[in-house]
């Protein structure tokens, strides 16, 4: 009994330490802020026009650099994220964004993984009940 009690106690101690370290890590986590972070985020969402599947942040193709300049200029002019992405869509079409629109058919893309997640949970419950 003492050994089992020891296991519980050592696990409780560990759980407390885990919570402490997690709290410390969360409070000290860097906060990305400012227009540089915004530009970086936008650049990672926009496809490099002349590459197949790189973002403009990743590519050094001329077309990617041109788009990066435009994004930086638009952020400096005070446009919102949506306005900037919409203006790019107006020139290039929807395919300039690395993710399709979430409305309409695009929702299917995100519902798929959710269904898989639900299937996992449902399967686990079924197995747990069967015993």
């Amino acid at each position: 009994m003492t050994r089992l009690g020891g296991a519980v106690r050592s696990f409780t101690l560990y759980a407390l330490a885990l919570v402490a370290v997690a709290t410390l890590a969360v409070t000290l986590a860097p906060r990305a802020a400012g227009s540089a972070a915004r530009v970086a985020r936008l650049e990672s969402l926009v496809r490099c026009p002349s590459c197949a599947d790189l973002s403009v942040a990743q590519s050094d193709a001329t077309s990617a650099i041109a788009v990066r300049h435009e994004i930086a200029a638009d952020v400096a002019r005070g446009l919102s994220d949506t306005e900037i992405l919409t203006s790019l869509e107006a020139a290039y079409g929807t395919s300039i964004l690395l993710s399709p629109p979430t409305s309409g058919l695009g929702a299917l893309l995100w519902i798929g993984p959710l269904l898989v997640g639900l299937a996992v949970v449902a399967g686990a419950i079924r197995v747990a009940r069967r015993r």
């Binding site: 026009p49 001329t62 041109a66 788009v67």
Partner: protein
């Protein structure tokens, strides 16, 4: 006896059959296709710059003419395919007042000049340092061709290599 394996196998087979049918009816992209560009019907973005041969080109000065704008690069395979056709189209349509202009896309001046010389281009090509013009036109991959009306609006966008006949048909439709 439980039938779950049979039922799920049949369900999977139905889904896969639908997927197969869908994929089997997709066609690979060959030749130029008219694409629904967001620019259609709108005023063509500004296009001005130095030509490979040294002169200056300005789209604004070409009002009153149908203008064919072709984005190309020396490294692009389909551009090699369409280069002779573009030249012959430019030559045949010049008497009808149609202007053909190339824009060099994401390429070095030296390579572009060699390309134009090799294919004996019969139309001027504008260099586009920094890809500013391509960005305004939303060009993603060469060759991309825009047809612009005499009033300066984008009337058609063609993705992929164009043929002389196809270009003449589109221009005739725009001019009428």
């Amino acid at each position: 006896m439980r039938r779950s394996v049979a039922l799920s196998s049949i369900a999977v087979l139905v889904v896969v059959a639908a997927l197969t049918l869908f994929l089997a009816t997709r066609h690979p992209v060959t030749g130029a296709t008219e694409a629904p560009s967001p620019l259609l019907g709108r005023l063509a973005p500004a296009l001005a710059g130095r030509e490979l041969s040294g002169g200056r080109f300005d789209l604004a000065a070409e009002r009153g003419h149908v203008v064919v704008v072709n984005f190309w690069a020396s490294w692009c395979g389909p551009c090699r395919v369409e280069a002779p056709d573009l030249s012959s189209a430019a030559w045949q349509m010049r008497r009808r007042g149609v202007v053909v202009v190339g824009v060099v896309f994401n390429d070095t001046v030296a390579a572009a000049r060699a390309f134009a010389r090799y294919y004996g281009s019969l139309y001027p090509s504008v260099v586009d340092p920094g890809g500013v013009i391509a960005n305004r036109y939303g060009v993603t991959s060469p060759p991309t061709t825009f047809v612009i009306t005499p009033s300066g609006r984008v009337a058609a966008t063609l993705l992929g290599p164009v043929s002389t006949a196809q270009l003449e048909a589109v221009v005739a439709k725009v001019a009428s």
